[in-house]
Symmetry: C2
Subunit: 114 residues, 2 copies
DNA sequence: GACACGTATCGACGTTCGTCGATATATTGA
DNA sequence: TCAATATATCGACGAACGTCGATACGTGTC
């Protein structure tokens, strides 16, 4: 209810000394955003597209009603994983790659990579 | 319902060409496992401990009833993120680091690191 | 074998979530 | 200004989830 806008900045690596209740909640919120098949596919579409995608191009392939897709987009935006851009009467969405990278870093124990 | 035992092996990077419905569901299932503050803190404990942890040491700090903790452990085991080991009448749990690493890799677009 | 103790399962409850039809809002074009 | 179209919001419904008390199962101890 408080800072859904950017939980990205307040979550910490899973192997950090001790997670505060707030950090745990923020981290969970982030993972929960990708805890639905529809949202996973949406993020997948945005990731492969590489450029902003019109929401109207997502309604069909997902097999979901228009309000449902809109609902999922709002969740992703609230989680800070996706950015919304208005172009005329169309809504374009793009992936916030640094946010997804943060998510990956959270799950990455000990930074084994590199 | 089908292969909850190891969704790890059947999920794919978010920027893969096109995610099948099964892959999307498996990926979502994996993220959902970390979509609860209690489970985030459990995984955090296991990650920092570095060695198997007795579930009896988790009941207190989490502030949850014993059946609830047991319930969360089962979810983590089902997701393939955690391993259970019986030592006498105690149950020890340890993090499956490769599984968590897979999770991180899924979220890691394009393998920018390295 | 009987008991104590740690853990898992069961059943129930309230809350949250995903979904959709109906409707409201906003932007474009005539 | 008015109609058409794209998107968001609202309200409702069923399903899934987190939580806990009561209870069953296993293991070690006497």
């Amino acid at each position: 209810m408080s800072s859904l806008a950017e939980p990205i900045t307040c979550c910490a690596p899973l192997d950090q000394a001790v997670l505060s209740a707030e950090e745990a909640e923020a981290t969970a919120e982030l993972f929960k955003a990708l805890g639905d098949p529809a949202r996973v596919r949406i993020v997948n579409c945005l990731a492969t597209a590489g450029e902003p995608v019109c929401i109207c191009d997502l309604n069909g392939p997902l097999g979901l009603a228009q309000p449902t897709v809109s609902h999922h987009m709002k969740k992703l935006v609230d989680a800070g994983l996706v950015e919304r851009e208005q172009r005329g009467k169309w809504a374009y969405f793009s992936l916030k790659r640094d946010a997804v990278a943060t998510l990956a870093a959270v799950a990455d124990l000990k930074g084994v990579c590199c």
